[in-house]
Amino acid sequence: MRFVTFEPPGQPPGQPPGGGARFGFFAGSETIVDLQGAFAALLAGEMPAARALDLAAEMAPADALAFIQGGAVCLDAARQARTFIEQAGAQARGPGGQRILFPTDQVRLLAPLPRPGKFIAAGKNFSDHLKEMTAGGNHPKNPVAFAQAASTVVGPDSRVPYPPETEKLDYEVEMAVVIGRPAFRVAAEDALDHVFAYTIFNDISARDLYRDEGRTGVPLLGKNLPGFAPMGPALVTPDEVPDPQALGLRCRVNGETRQDSTLANMVFKIADQIAYWSRLGLEPGDVLSTGTPSGVAASRKPGETPWWLKPGDRIEAEVDGLGILRTEIGPPDPAG
């Protein structure tokens, strides 16, 4: 299934997540279903509407994190809701007559998981990226990663203001894993069983800050300025991604291809990364992003046209089977 967090039409734009945002799923590519409304409609065929609404609130939460934390019970409710919608057709309505089906182009998509738990972002994990960024091209002995602040997550078609703190703004297309089952010290062969979904992450970075902070500490400002974590457009469950390790991924800026690679080039595979970072204790709703390939702006050599992002640039981060995540760089954000 493909889950989204969306604002129905008629919602004042810019309302913070949770203030009217709903968790739902794609029924085909043209329709988005309000999950809780659809599940309540299903239940209302068997019980009083008030009871159906109460039960649906528990088993099919309107909040992405609560849904993921609900585990198999919630996933099962979602599958039942999908079947119900397939049978009920375009006339389907919630128990109170409310709309539960929306054309895709009428809703505003937010980040499908607006507030993750822990967000761990891998670095130095593609053989081609290592070659372009380090002298020896050798990879670290163990996976390396930094923490992404959950408050930096933004959704599809977001506009990231150009921060005053940097002159070297960069993009990175990545595939991110959302954890669905608690994982503590899991073996690599079991690791993918703990995945709730896959999605796209554009790891926007301020390379000058990143380099300076790295002299004595870990990247903080360099990876966590406002809007630095666009994610989406949807959370795609593993049944729709038969071979996640083989997916192609690419990044275009203003239509020009900058990154074009495959997840097969990962140094530490998805399962190995999950296993390693499970030493921290991974929980449902945690996100692990798996690294970016070559072609970032920081890789340009002197004499080559710089690729640093500037206001007005339009980025398309694409992972096969997961869609395209679009982000625009906005005007400079005045300091203070």
Partner: protein, 272 residues
């Protein structure tokens, strides 16, 4: 002094602190009474941090070598601890494996009460809810390995190994009152022996500077900024705080007269 209500679910603490920052202190008691009836009955404390918060602790591998001073460019650096890294007051810390190779630092934790985004240093106090204590536990070998690639994530984030608490001492008076008294001393004892001591005056960076510097990341109610021994520059150089090794069987205590005593006990997972 306020102990976090044991019944408080994730997110509640941030909401309480934000309400405090916005309203009169008297509102807090009314709000807690309404939200958590009966929750005061049990004495068990939790680490005073929400599931969705972040803890930013200043200090890096060169901070100590430079005597805690910032990079010449004025850059403040440090690392992030997830809420899952923390342990409640009075916890038994079960260090992985045989329990060897772990260090601890005393840290003063400043708790955010009002959302702070690109704030000036002179406005910092208005965003502070209070202070607490932390025993920041690090796995030494992993820390050194991660430092080679300028990453420090696993070393600082083993689940449930860093005690936080015992409570949050709230700012009193108006928003402009400084919360930290330069004379306050924060100490670390292991098995009754003093291992670290620094005063707020010894810290190479004040909370105003650090909060302002990191506020572009957006600091939210319930977030925490840690200032610890790594950046303490006492007048007497022999008092510079080195990380203190802990091992199974140890009793560790971080305390400050103005805040309280944070205690924990150390064992190893391999022990019964």
């Amino acid at each position: 002094m306020i102990d976090p209500p044991p019944g408080a679910a994730g997110g509640r603490l941030g909401a309480v602190l934000a309400a405090l920052s916005a309203g009169a202190p008297g509102d807090l008691e009314k709000r807690l009474a309404a939200d958590s009836a009966g929750a005061w009955a049990t004495p068990r404390l939790r680490a005073p941090i929400d599931a969705g918060a972040k803890a930013l602790v200043i200090g890096g591998r060169r901070a100590r070598a430079q005597g805690g001073a910032a990079d010449p460019d004025g850059l403040i650096t440090g690392y992030l601890k997830f809420p899952t890294a923390f342990a409640p007051p009075g916890a038994t810390l079960r260090l992985p494996g045989s329990g060897l190779g772990f260090d601890v630092d005393a840290v003063l934790g400043v708790v955010i009460g009002r959302r702070a985004h690109r704030v000036q240093a002179e406005d910092a106090w208005a965003h502070v809810a209070g202070v607490t204590l932390m025993a920041d536990v690090t796995e030494r070998a992993v820390y050194q390995e991660e430092a080679r690639t300028n990453n420090g994530l696993l070393a600082k984030n083993h689940p449930g190994l860093s005690p936080l608490g015992p409570a949050i001492r709230l700012a009193e008076g108006g928003a402009l009152d400084p919360v930290l008294d330069p004379a306050w001393e924060i100490s670390l004892e292991i098995n009754g022996q003093l291992r670290q001591r620094f005063s707020v005056a010894d810290l190479a960076h004040g909370i105003e500077e650090v909060l302002s510097f990191w506020s572009p990341m957006t600091l939210e109610p319930g977030d925490l900024i840690g200032l610890g021994g790594a950046i303490a520059m006492p007048a007497d150089a022999s008092q510079i705080c080195s990380p203190a090794a802990i091992e199974p069987g140890d009793n560790l205590k971080v305390f400050c007269d103005a805040i309280g005593v944070l205690e924990a006990f150390v064992t190893a997972e391999d022990e019964q």
